[in-house]
Amino acid sequence: MKLLSLSVAFVMAAWCQNWNLLHQVPPKAAAKSNPMEGDARACRAGAKLFARECSACHGRNAEGSEKAPALRNADVHQASAGTLFWILKNGSLRHGMPSFAHLPEPQRWEIVTFLHSLGQKE
């Protein structure tokens, strides 16, 4: 019985690991740096883009919803800019996160700048 419980726990843990997009980003993509990092104007533009593109699922204040997780947390704040950029570009189509590759690169970096600023405000 213990063995069965351990196996179930292991499978659950592996499944949860797969669901965490932050862990799926290739190292090369995660190492990319944000050309707009710390730019206040880019951060405000990112807030506008977030309201337009992301808030329907992640909530107006990034507090999350039944459909998508909160983005005001340490994981997102500590994630590298390249990691967030890769997630925006590719999404996770099987888990309901769409790709935002149609946004030009500068707009995706603006969103990343805004997401990083969320943690600072906490």
Binding site: N90, R94, H102, P104, Q107, E110
Partner: protein, 289 residues
């Protein structure tokens, strides 16, 4: 009475749902690999007007409901109609399309499979694709005659598209077959577009350059499986521009120029679209206790 209240409730719900940006680009004919976001509903109209040869001026109109079922699956339902000057106005049929994104991640080129069932009549003038030997003669036929022809067709497309340094580049290959008869018909479309600015401005604005996208499309027929090639086919070159307001409503317009003798000389396309964010969730909540 109950139906009236249901209608008022439904319309009221739609009015207060948050909108999103469609971002579907300035194209009328060409598809990219961008899918509808899961749960979002886009309402759109695509209209085309022209005066083919000695025929009467017409207005073909298509109303489009596009819904994101999954991140990799978008479904769309169309209602078609047309009005021809000095003839009549009529409903010409419906179409149901499904698009499936084949690869989960972004690549330098991204394939999408498109499958559509059309149940329209011969008077349809929506011109959402040009295949086979379609040409201006199809648009000249009087409505009274053309409407008697039933077209139940399966249309498939291979959509290939890429984003490169702010540019959207897309190519579609089309194969269409009447389910009862007629040969396989082929067509193509290709498009390229770019927003006027790549970075967004921090303020909410209607006239920011990033709200405008300009591009060009080229589309036409490639004959049938018995007579494949460019002979007696029509082709169009169409510059296009789209403008999205800060509230998400998008307008687009495209003058299309026929470049072969078989083509209609000039067509003007215009459309409006509006996207309702998380429509599926809002609709489900209406039926929950």
């Amino acid at each position: 009475m109950v139906q009236r209240w249901a209608l008022i409730l439904g319309l009221g719900t739609i009015m207060f749902l948050p909108c999103c940006w469609g971002d579907e680009g300035p194209f009328f004919i060409t598809y990219t690999h961008q899918m509808e976001e899961p749960g979002n509903l886009e309402l759109a109209t695509k209209d085309v007007t022209g005066k083919p040869g000695n025929g009467n001026r017409f207005l073909g109109s298509t109303t489009e409901l596009e819904y994101g079922l999954k991140g990799w699956w978008t479904t769309e339902f169309y209602l078609d109609g047309q009005a021809t000057f000095r003839e009549s106005s009529l409903f010409t049929g419906y179409r149901w399309e499904n698009r499936f994104r084949l690869l989960p991640h972004e690549h330098w080129i991204n394939p999408v499979l498109y499958v559509e069932f059309e149940n329209i009549n011969g008077a349809d003038k929506g011109l959402l694709e040009v295949v086979g030997h379609d040409g201006k003669n199809d648009l000249i036929q009087p409505n009274a005659d053309a409407r008697t022809e039933r077209k139940r067709e399966i249309e498939t497309k291979l959509i290939l598209s890429s984003y490169f340094k702010g540019w959207t580049i897309a190519e579609n290959f089309i194969a269409e077959k009447n389910v009862r008869h007629a040969p396989y018909e082929f067509g193509y479309t290709a498009g390229v577009s770019r927003p006027l600015a790549l970075a967004a401005r921090p303020d909410r604005c209607n006239l920011c350059p990033e709200n405008f996208q300009v591009g060009a499309e080229m589309y036409g027929g490639l004959g049938t499986h018995q007579d494949f090639g460019l002979g007696e086919t029509s082709h169009y070159l169409a510059p296009t521009i789209a403008w999205t307001l800060a509230n998400g409503t998008s307008f687009k317009v495209s003058p299309s120029f026929g470049i072969t003798g078989t083509s209609a000389g000039f067509l003007l396309r215009f459309g409006v679209s509006y996207e309702i964010g998380q429509f599926g969730r809002a609709a489900r909540s209406l039926f929950r206790k």
